[in-house]
């Protein structure tokens, strides 16, 4: 191939090539150091997590055979040959799955209201007292750092078994996560309307109601919908610790090796979660469209 680029003379070129090589070697050395660090961390954590590649290699067959057993009825036939037998507990599971959805719904709304109430005093442009702001922010941080299932464990001890501890646990976690997002939204508003309301003598509450809320509402609802998707997923396992929903039956079925029941419930969960994701994504796109015009 003929070369179209005209190269400078060798004497001029040599230092440039030297510089280039130096720069590349330095970069390569950094990369190598990073890789070595990652490799060491990997080794240490592999020892820490008791990784046994040999066991995995020997038992990887279990993984495929587990899914094979999931798709078999007690009679040994494939599950789809007898859907009635497969979904024998449809009524009960639907009720439990409905309960899971209700838990997620109630918890999302409760948590969103909590986050909305907390967002104004936590944002820099609406709350001038730094100590109040810091206190609210620390509270929100605590709510979102403790995993919801830990809250659920403690609440089950306090409120007894059932949906109530699950709702409270998910709601508190939602307040923490949404509170942070809501605060960020509120901090990015246009302050003009707020000053307008303030200049006509409006109180702090009036400022929040008439100048802040109209600006942020559609954004907040969109975040709450996104959180609802996540909470539906989270609520399916909250029953593992006795806090209501389909998780109760799922963990019993997995522990007691009722294979076809496990696959039936998993299928119901996956379909429900996907449906809700799709609907909520549509709604969020419409909300964003509303926002933009």
């Amino acid at each position: 191939m003929t070369r179209l680029v005209s190269l400078p003379p060798a004497a001029q070129l040599a230092p440039l090539i030297g510089n280039y090589n130096d720069a590349v070697t330095a970069k390569r050395r950094h990369l190598l150091l990073g890789l070595v660090a990652i490799a060491i961390a990997l080794l240490v954590s592999a020892v820490g997590a008791e990784v046994q590649p040999v066991t995995l290699w020997n038992k990887i067959g279990n993984f495929t055979s587990y899914f094979d057993r999931l798709l078999k009825l007690d009679t040994g036939a494939r599950v789809w040959t007898d859907p009635l037998e497969w979904f024998w507990g449809l009524a009960r599971w639907s009720r439990l799955l409905g309960e899971t959805l209700l838990i997620a719904y109630v918890a999302t709304i409760t948590g969103a209201i909590g986050a909305f109430v907390a967002a104004a005093p936590a944002s820099r442009n609406l709350m001038r007292h730094a100590p109040v702001r810091a206190a609210v922010r620390r509270c929100l941080e605590f709510c979102r750092t403790v995993p919801d299932i830990v809250f659920a464990l403690i609440f089950v001890a306090a409120f007894g078994l059932g949906a109530l501890p699950g709702i409270l646990a998910v709601a508190i976690h939602t307040t923490g996560t949404l509170g942070k997002l809501f605060t960020e939204v509120v901090e990015n508003i246009d302050m003009g309307p707020v000053e307008g309301v303030a200049s006509t003598g409006g109180s702090w509450l009036a400022q929040v109601r008439f100048a802040v809320t109209p600006q942020v509402l559609s954004n907040l609802v969109s975040y709450a919908l996104l959180r609802f998707e996540i909470n539906v997923r989270g609520s399916t396992v909250i029953g593992f610790v006795g806090a209501g929903g389909i998780g109760q039956d799922l963990i019993v079925a997995i522990r007691k090796f009722y294979y076809s029941d496990v696959s039936a419930m998993l299928l119901m969960i996956i379909v429900t979660v996907m449906t809700i994701d799709i609907i909520s994504a549509r709604l969020r796109h419409r909300l964003l469209a509303m926002e933009n015009h």
Binding site: P147, A158, P165
Partner: protein, 276 residues
């Protein structure tokens, strides 16, 4: 001029808003209706909440001050915490390594075939809709109880999310550097290595770090189903109602998560550059 006079003069401008608000209002009322119906269905009464709050206050008092009782326990908990971090790190890294090929498969500008694109997206969605704890239960059946099952569970549930995020990063990559390499006579492999990778690698790295943060949280609870880490200790202590130990464990988790968040935020802004 008074408000009523203004309304009488320009009814279209001032009253029009109300008519637009009716569907929104109806939606709000419907949402509230479902909310209260749900409370009734789930049998949640104020009296239950109040009596429960009383017991919760008792528990909160019992939790203070956090007290591990002996140094042997502290060492045990620190070991469990280390295991949790190891699970999170291993799960994150394995998930990222195995998620990469799926990301490329699901990216519209790499694989043009619509069928492959559709099926890889849907299977990633399926993997994603199963919670980490369920994956942990499945992996326990394969490799037995212990932290290894936990790491594998985190890897599996991350695969779906990584595939989706990576494919989005690849689709958002600028086409021009790739074209530039191709027009200078580079091969297709050169185009990916010098045109595509430098664009997407920082995004990948920042997402992996972000997942490490969130996986540390997941890894703290994965012990609840028997997959190792500090969750196992937490679950045991709650079960035997040793509340001072519980609050000590929660405190340890809080400090660790905060430390990891801080470090990872530093690293992320170093990798991707400070945002204005």
């Amino acid at each position: 001029m008074q408000g009523t006079e203004l309304c009488a003069r320009d009814p279209d401008v001032l009253r029009g808003g109300l008519r637009q608000q009716i569907p929104l209002l109806a939606l709000g009322i419907a949402a509230a209706g479902v909310y209260f119906a749900a409370l009734l269905t789930l049998d949640i009464s104020p009296s239950r909440i109040i009596s429960g709050l009383g017991r919760l206050a008792d528990i909160a008092i019992l939790m203070l001050p956090p007290n591990p009782e002996s140094w042997a326990r502290v060492l045990l908990y620190l070991g469990a915490l280390g295991q949790t971090l190891a699970i999170a790190f291993l799960g994150t890294l394995l998930g990222a390594i195995f998620g990469c090929p799926f990301g490329f498969l699901a990216a519209r500008n790499v694989v043009a075939n619509r069928m492959i694109h559709f099926f890889s997206r849907r299977s990633l969605d399926t993997v994603r809709s199963v919670d980490t704890l369920i994956w942990a239960l499945i992996w326990i059946n394969v490799v037995g109880l212990g932290p290894f099952a936990g790491a594998l569970a985190i890897m599996s549930s991350d695969l779906g999310a990584y595939g989706k995020l990576f494919s989005e990063a690849i689709e958002a990559a600028d086409r021009k550097p790739v074209d530039g390499v191709l027009s200078a006579g580079g091969s297709r492999l050169h185009a990916i290595r010098f045109g595509m990778l430098p664009q997407v690698l920082p995004v990948f790295a920042s997402q992996v770090l972000y997942f490490f943060e969130s996986n540390t949280r997941s890894a703290t609870i994965i012990g609840i189903v028997g997959a190792g880490g500090i969750g196992l200790q937490l679950f045991e202590q709650i079960r035997v109602l040793e509340w001072q130990q519980v609050s000590f464990l929660i405190l340890m988790v809080l400090i660790t998560v905060a430390a990891i968040d801080w470090t990872s935020q530093r690293l992320r802004s170093a990798i991707i550059g400070q945002r204005p």
